[in-house]
């Protein structure tokens, strides 16, 4: 279970400060597909960074499967991210100097796989996202949609418990965005827990739970009607 209790995040700039949210609670159970939505600047990504132990809350705790982030050393937090989380970034977050295959291989080596084993698993992950034949290409040679698929392959290659996705379709055209969304749906169906931040309505119906971050609080808005585009593509 990925859980946050009594979270507070505040940004200070000089003498002024902005409280993004406080007393915020969040729980994602195993197998859930949680979408966090909200207006731009509402703090969705900030919350995701806190849930992923990439940032430190001013107050409150985040725990992943019982491990409380704030009580862990830097290395232990890295290990926890490696073992249990997979990240998909809005702008893909790929290493420009590495091929698609090497980008996926990297966390697998960190997990202790041999070079050959890591390559095999990475190829399998790239095959899952339909990029098996693009393994040797560097990110600069791939389209936005393809880069995001590499990013997804990297996130799923080591079978993490939770996949955190930050606006994964925001930089993509409609066709690519729908491909990426259907990929997430398939990953979820395969058993992964997904927490996705998005402001795009097309993805909402895939979620088991939809939370809207509004005025610093999470509101459950799971039951909303599908958009015409969603109905058209069957998402």
């Amino acid at each position: 279970m990925l859980e946050a209790r009594n979270l507070k995040k505040q940004f200070a700039s000089g003498e002024s400060s902005l409280i993004v949210f406080e007393h915020l609670d969040f729980v994602a159970a195993e197998g859930e597909f949680v979408i966090i939505t909200g207006r731009s600047g509402s703090g969705k990504s900030t919350l995701l960074y806190l849930l992923g132990l990439l940032d430190t809350p001013n107050e409150g705790v985040v725990s992943i499967d019982g491990f409380v982030g704030s009580t862990l050393s830097r290395n232990a937090r890295s290990d926890l991210r490696l073992d249990r989380l997979g990240y998909v970034f809005q702008d893909y977050g790929l290493m420009a100097e590495m091929s698609a295959l090497d980008n996926v291989v990297l966390p697998l080596i960190m997990r202790g796989k041999s070079r050959a084993e890591a390559k095999e698993l990475a190829r399998a992950a790239l095959d899952r996202v339909g990029l098996g034949d693009h393994a040797k290409y560097r990110p600069s040679k791939l389209s936005g949609g393809q880069q995001q698929r590499v990013s997804i392959a990297r996130a799923i290659a080591h079978n993490p418990s939770y996949i955190l996705a930050d606006e994964p379709t925001a930089n993509l055209d409609t066709t690519s965005a729908l491909e990426i969304l259907s990929m997430f749906r398939a990953i979820h169906k395969a058993g992964s827990t997904i927490i996705m931040v998005t402001h795009e309505r097309e993805s909402l119906s895939m979620a088991t739970r939809v939370l809207e971050l509004k005025q610093g609080q999470l509101v459950d808005v799971t039951h909303i009607p599908q958009s015409p585009l969603q109905q058209m593509v069957g998402l």
Binding site: S78, Y87, G93, E97, L106, P107
Partner: protein, 423 residues
């Protein structure tokens, strides 16, 4: 089951090397450029002190080549000659590893020039104090190649009588610097001119047969004549010589032969010295002064390269801030990323040092031996010992390691999200 702590550390190291490998391969041009900078930095470190020490070593080599030979036998203090000189010479002839030797008579005296022009008592005579060396021209040439130092006129023949070779520092034509009375070079004297020699209370008129020029002032301040004549002027009926320069066979160890000679029957006849033992103390003073200067200048070069690498790695890490954040986000430990940078710097500095050592010993040093720099008082060579080269390689390595670890650590201290978002 999660990996053990040791396994995690090992995986971190593996990832560090994986990152280093990929970054270097992706930026081949930059990698090559950095290695070139490392080579130049290392050569700067070696050559600055190497050339300065080489000035003295060049002079030492000149002294060994043209004056002392590999081993020098000199008279004991308070003795006027090597004891049992004929026996000593006979013994040296029996040793197969000694290829040649040159017994010398040596004394001080005065040379006077232009005395025919000094007709009144008020005329100041053109005199200079000199060291007179009596040599067997054939043995001397075989041992020290003295004939190669003749810049004017001719070398001595064994049968020459009243013929003299004069060092350039005794003649105003070559040495224009003023000096103390008695050491002012004689004007207007050259090859074929007559000079008056005064030594051991004897005066003799001799003809200048040749002029000797060397980087070594000991030679330039000397006058050479055939041994028989100087022996007669000194009245050495026992044929006691003052010094013997000895040349050993190529590849033979001079210190070993010196030690053998010390233990031999002639061991107590004189002081048996190996090259550097016989040199004046100022040689060592010069060597240590230049060595210290070289270390100071070399250290400055090292500090500059430290700063250069620091800036290079710092810029590299700053421009890769986001990537560093992403790497941490996907579970790479900060240590793995640091190892990535340190491994690159380690490889660059190691390559720079190894290529620098190869260049130095295979190309640069042989070049300077073949083409020494013509300094006024020495034929400057590049003098670097292999131990010194490795020590400096280690110094460069450590400096570059520190220069790369510090900026990598600085970036790694940031919150991951700040690195990702460039805050």
């Amino acid at each position: 089951m999660p990996p053990s702590s040791f396994r995690r550390t090992w995986n971190t190291i593996r990832v560090g090397f994986f990152l280093a490998n990929r970054q270097m391969l992706a930026n081949k041009g930059t990698s090559i450029l950095i290695v070139v900078v490392m080579i130049l930095t290392y050569l700067n470190l070696l050559m600055v002190s190497g050339l300065l020490v080489g000035i003295v070593d060049g002079l030492r080599q000149e002294r060994r080549d043209h004056y002392t030979g590999d081993i020098m036998i000199v008279q004991h203090d308070r003795k006027n000659a090597i004891l049992n000189s004929p026996d000593t010479i006979s013994y040296l002839k029996t040793l197969p590893l000694i290829t040649s030797f040159s017994p010398r008579y040596k004394t001080t005296g005065i040379i006077e020039g232009n005395y025919a022009e000094k007709i009144t008592e008020q005329d100041t005579p053109d005199v200079i104090i000199s060291t007179f060396i009596g040599i067997d021209p054939t043995a001397e040439d075989a041992t020290t190649g003295l004939s190669h130092l003749i810049v004017e006129g001719e070398y001595l023949r064994p049968t020459d009588y009243n013929q003299i070779l004069i060092g350039t520092s005794l003649l105003a034509r070559y040495k224009t610097l003023t000096a103390l009375p008695g050491t002012i070079p004689i004007p207007k004297v050259g090859v074929g001119d007559k000079v008056r020699i005064m030594l051991n209370g004897i005066e003799r008129e001799m003809t200048v047969k040749g002029i000797v020029a060397s980087k070594l002032e000991e030679i330039n301040l000397s006058a050479y004549m055939v041994d028989a004549q100087l022996r007669a002027m000194l009245g050495r009926t026992n044929r006691g010589v003052n010094e013997i320069a000895v040349r050993v066979a190529p590849g033979a160890s001079a210190p070993t032969i010196r030690d053998q000679l010390k233990r031999s029957p002639i061991g107590n006849n004189g002081l048996i010295l190996y090259g550097r033992d016989s040199e004046p103390s100022f040689f060592q003073d010069f060597a240590s002064t230049f060595g210290q200067l070289g270390t100071i200048l070399g250290s400055t070069g090292l500090v500059i390269s430290f700063i250069a690498v620091f800036i290079l790695v710092f810029i590299n890490t700053v421009t890769h801030r986001r990537s560093i954040g992403i790497l941490q986000a996907i579970g790479v430990r900060p240590g793995g990323i640091e190892i990535g940078y340190v491994a690159q710097s380690s490889l660059f500095s190691s390559l720079g040092a190894v290529i620098g050592i190869a260049l130095n010993f295979m190309l640069i040093e042989p070049y300077f031996v073949a083409h020494p720099i013509d300094f006024p008082f020495s034929n400057g060579i590049l003098s670097v010992s292999i131990t010194e080269a490795w020590v400096k390689a280690l110094v460069l390595y450590i400096a570059i390691m520190c220069a790369s670890i510090v900026p990598a650590r600085m970036i790694m201290r940031q919150e991951i999200v700040d690195a990702i978002l460039g805050r």
